[in-house]
Symmetry: C2
Subunit: 272 residues, 2 copies
Amino acid sequence: MSFANDTALHPDGAGRYVGAIVDGWDIGGNANGGYLLAMAGQAMAKAAGRPDPITLTAHYLAPGAAQPVHLDSTVIKSGKRLTTVSATLSSAERPLLTLLGAFGEVRSRGESSVDGEIERVEAAPPDLPDPADCIRVPGGDGFPPPLMNRIDLRLTEADAGFALGKPSGQLSVEGWFRLLDDEPNTTASLLLAVDAFPPTAFFGGLPVAWVPTVELTAHIRRQPAPGWLRCRFSTKFVAGGVLEEDGEIWDSTGHLVAQSRQLALVPRVAAD
Amino acid sequence: MSFANDTALHPDGAGRYVGAIVDGWDIGGNANGGYLLAMAGQAMAKAAGRPDPITLTAHYLAPGAAQPVHLDSTVIKSGKRLTTVSATLSSAERPLLTLLGAFGEVRSRGESSVDGEIERVEAAPPDLPDPADCIRVPGGDGFPPPLMNRIDLRLTEADAGFALGKPSGQLSVEGWFRLLDDEPNTTASLLLAVDAFPPTAFFGGLPVAWVPTVELTAHIRRQPAPGWLRCRFSTKFVAGGVLEEDGEIWDSTGHLVAQSRQLALVPRVAAD
């Protein structure tokens, strides 16, 4: 039982990748969106013959319970540096996610910049208390969701208040992420991390029980170094029935390893 | 000669949308990425039978000169609120763009929020001098690019310095955008606007002549009101050979009408 095992799809010899959504990575019975993204993204990388998702977009079409799934993929173009792949992850004949991504090879752990490469970073990783001084989001059977039993996600005391009905009021959250049992983070687990935190809507105190993802795009910048990931998610625009949620993930060496943006639906508040 | 005419593709009766990249919307002979996005996005909306792109992702596979093109599309799912479509825009048999989008209907011009809808905006439109006090980016035959003859794009004096070898030094730009001849902006022209400004790399003074787009995702939030659009583009992370560029577009009534993010390649600087 590991993230790597639980998200692996295998070639069926006839051009498909097959496997199953594993029980326990869910929120209320439906697999977490980042888990499904990681499952599809790894199979697409195999189809591309390249190790890492450089940019991967998923549209979420239907919720996925623990059940057999398969991925159909098409290599659209294979270039010098990137291979572009489209894919659909389905259960029986029902599409769950449809995706479009470019795969390549990101900078290795610890590798510094190469000759002639321009670097400029206009942001810093979240300044967080030590993980030991943060509060682990507990897993449960419904709320809190089972997903939180499979990952170690820690929030500051101020942010953790959301679970007790005392949201910070900010449409943002910062915290730590790691896999369990010292399983190392990979570019695939970054795809999980970008959708693993409770939604910013909960911290902002919006009167919504969920904000279903329409579309999520993740850019993977670098192999994460061993250790905890620092994460930040924020929302600026709740309007027109949708919101965006932007994510940044930094590794233990202070490098940005992933960026994400998702568009989610904001349910209307029922009239009294 | 208008944006609407120059980006229209027409059904060929056999399931394809056909037309041509029109000369003049280019940068050095290759059609602007936003122009191609708008062309493909409008045909995909027709295929979806829904008027507006809610979220549209394009991967740029090859540059497009003025030539006949066609779009092949597949409706992946048609739901209550959104229809998800994948498509490829090609010239002869060469794919130029491959896309994935969800289409629906955004809030109309001037329409205010509906009952029970949650609104919260944590940002303000760019505070710009009047368009008359800004500097129009001139069009040319090479540099400046022909594209700028087809749109009216105005920058502040500080930002306009980039063209004279005096970049602001900031990896960001703010300015005005409109179509020519009082052609009204639409959700389609927002797809042009999100990629119409010179790249942030130029304002930041990075030693690069171009930053080719790998992938661009646009979220369209609302029908733009008549008049100028206020635009802001910024970059935080130039690293690992790529950068992201985030865009916000606001209409004349102060509403956010579009958000965008693109991932672009940053060429290495040649060794001396």
